[in-house]
């Protein structure tokens, strides 16, 4: 029976798991989250340990060992020395794949960070101050959305010249729109809440309110958008490199590997299948993690 005795009630409150613990419990019960985390940690570990685990130098060309198929192929050339075979220049495919993970993760993470800073600044400013400031922020977001990302990115890269940092900056400066849109909406919602009004009433500075009242409460959405945008940046980098306007040879970017193997794919389909599958797995794991985080941090929004 629902008897609410103050003493037992208090005891229950103490004994009940903390919100953080309950969130952890939900996270570990969420299949997508766990799967995404496992794959991502795996890829991250391989990227980090690439110099140790890679069997060969990823740039080392051995021209008489070209196009060895992966070991599972029924071929006389297949050898455990090159588990994933070698490419058209005789470079070990597994080693290139492992080093390629570094490029994808680096570009994805760095571009996401840049876009996070820009987008959050614009979104929070618009959402918090409202009025004219919001009109300007909204205008900036609308303008950015009307520029075609891929086209502008490759145009700029071709004009400025291609390098890892150029790709990172170009992507970071282009894909902040989702951060801005989500942060603006989230901040707007918080704007009218009592604890923000209370902070204003006791005379907290705007900077303090934004940093200590608004930001902690939009953190969940921010992290979820961050996963989406990191995946987005990784896919864009791959597309750019595939078009020859991203990471330049001989760097082992996955998109570039697919591009280089394009001409040979009719004979050796695995050349595009392997880096493609790696890209797919990486993006999938980040998305699963993001979806999982969204479900776990906002269970009431789950369908």
């Amino acid at each position: 029976m629902a008897v609410t005795d103050p003493v037992t009630g208090a005891a229950e409150a103490v004994l009940a798991p903390s919100p953080a613990a309950r969130m952890r419990g939900r996270a570990f019960g969420h299949a997508g989250f766990v799967l995404g985390a496992v794959i991502l940690i795996g890829i991250f570990a391989m990227a980090l340990l690439a110099p140790m685990v890679a069997p060969h130098d990823p740039f080392d060309q051995v021209l008489d060992r070209k196009l060895i198929p992966p070991v599972w192929f029924d071929s006389a050339k297949a050898t455990w020395e090159h588990p994933l075979g070698t490419d058209q220049l005789g470079r070990d495919y597994l080693s290139r794949l492992l080093y390629g993970a570094r490029i994808s993760l680096l570009i994805g993470f760095a571009a996401m960070l840049i876009s996070m800073v820009i987008g959050t600044a614009i979104g929070v400013a618009g959402g918090y101050f409202g009025g004219r400031v919001d009109m300007v922020c909204n205008f900036i977001i609308t303008t950015r959305l009307s520029l075609p990302v891929v086209l502008v990115a490759i145009a700029v890269v071709s004009l400025v010249g291609s390098s890892l940092s150029v790709v990172i900056w170009v992507l970071g400066l282009l894909i902040w729109d989702r951060f801005a849109v989500v942060m603006r909406a989230a901040t707007m919602q918080l704007r009218g809440r009592d604890f923000v009004t209370a902070a204003e009433a006791i005379g907290c500075s705007r900077a303090r309110i934004i940093l200590s009242e608004i930001m902690p409460n939009v953190m969940n959405s921010l992290i979820v958008v961050a996963t989406v945008e990191m995946a987005h940046a990784i896919l864009l980098e791959a597309a750019l490199s595939f078009l020859g306007l991203g990471v330049q040879p001989p760097e082992p970017s996955w998109g570039l590997m697919i591009s280089e193997a394009k001409g040979l794919m009719f004979f050796d389909g695995w050349l595009i299948a392997i880096p493609g599958a790696a890209l797919f797995l990486l993006v999938l794991s980040i998305n699963l993690l993001g979806d999982g985080l969204r479900d776990v941090t906002a269970p009431e929004n789950r369908s």
């Binding site: 029976m1 629902a2 008897v3 609410t4």
Partner: protein
């Protein structure tokens, strides 16, 4: 005795939830005769709304309905398919909901939505449908009815929208009208108008009506008979006079002590309140459902199922093991 429009015996609803099975409606039996208004009264969560939805066959798909008898003018509804039920809904039995502001589809005009039951259930021509729609709007007291047909719900006030809902419910001449808190969301002055209109229309259409409400003031004005629900069960039922004159269940007496009675309640005097909360309806429950909040509780109240027993007059029944004390003047529990 007038023809019975609705006869319900042993109606129960079960909903699987996390932590067990919820029993929001348990063994409810009731009848409604032609031209009669039965009020189902109770706090929110007592199962009165689910009872009405289950009569209409509009329960959420997870919920399961059981009934020994559920007949509309002698026709058994319990085993009917969803398809057959949809032929009856809006046609022979219809329903009015609590929220007039959200109960009409914002994307379609009043005329379109008013015409739908006719298009679905009759073979009237377009012109006849339109004429009937205008006629019904006029009948529920909407002026300039013809021009209203082209308007959208957001262009109408809450009171007008509820009138449209009533017109829509009555447009096919139903035998039974179920009104679930039809006036709760409206302004007090509008409430009286709508109640008056419903009573008038019910007489005119000679339908049976179930009025679901938590407002005993409303009940006193329009109900012929009353069923008081508590925690999924009917705890007392009888004519309005019996319920108001000789309330026999402690819960009914508690409810009645919560409303001020002109001449008897002095200004500034405390109105009654029933302490405690409604019990959880998950899992099986033994004894009287009201036991935990009842001031008169005895050990035998907590044993076995408490059955309905006959009260002061014909048709008056209540679910309590105790004999009623001096009627009506029972002090409100502190």
């Amino acid at each position: 005795m007038a023809e019975q429009v609705l006869e319900v015996e042993g109606l129960s609803v079960d909903i699987p939830v996390t932590g067990g099975m919820l029993h929001p409606v348990q063994e409810v039996s009731l009848t409604v005769a032609r031209g009669e208004t039965l009020a189902i009264v109770g706090e929110s969560g007592c199962g009165k709304s689910l009872t009405s939805l289950s009569l209409m066959g509009l329960l959420p798909s997870r919920a399961e309905r059981r009934a020994r008898r559920l007949s509309l003018l002698g026709e058994e509804l319990a085993g009917k398919s969803e398809r057959a039920m949809s032929d009856i809904r809006g046609n022979r039995m219809s329903m009015i909901f609590q929220e007039p502001m959200t109960s009409l589809n914002p994307a379609y005009t009043i005329g379109d939505q008013l015409a739908e039951p006719l298009e679905r259930h009759t073979r009237l021509s377009r012109r006849e449908v339109r004429e009937r729609a205008v006629e019904m709007l006029e009948r529920v007291g909407i002026t300039a009815a013809a021009s209203r047909l082209g308007q959208y719900p957001h262009q109408l006030s809450g009171g007008l929208r509820q009138r449209v809902m009533i017109a829509m419910a009555l447009i096919c001449n139903p035998d039974l009208l179920i009104a679930d808190e039809p006036t709760t969301a409206l302004d007090v002055t509008i409430q009286a108008q709508i109640l008056h209109l419903m009573a008038e229309l019910q007489r005119e259409f000679h339908a049976g009506m179930i009025l679901i409400t938590h407002d005993l003031g409303v009940v006193a004005r329009v109900a012929d008979r009353v069923a008081v629900m508590y925690a999924g069960q009917i705890v007392e039922t009888g004519t309005a006079a019996q319920i108001y004159g000789a309330p026999s269940h402690p819960y009914t007496r508690g409810l009645l002590s919560c409303i001020p009675i002109p001449g008897r309640s002095r200004p500034g005097e405390h109105l009654g309140a029933i302490p405690g909360v409604v019990p959880s309806l998950i899992g099986r429950m033994e004894g009287c459902h009201f036991a935990d909040r009842c001031a008169l509780v005895e050990p035998r109240c907590r044993k076995g199922d408490i059955a309905l027993r006959d009260g002061s007059g014909s048709g008056h029944r209540y679910r309590c093991v105790l004999d009623p004390e001096t009627p009506a003047t029972q002090e409100a529990p502190a």
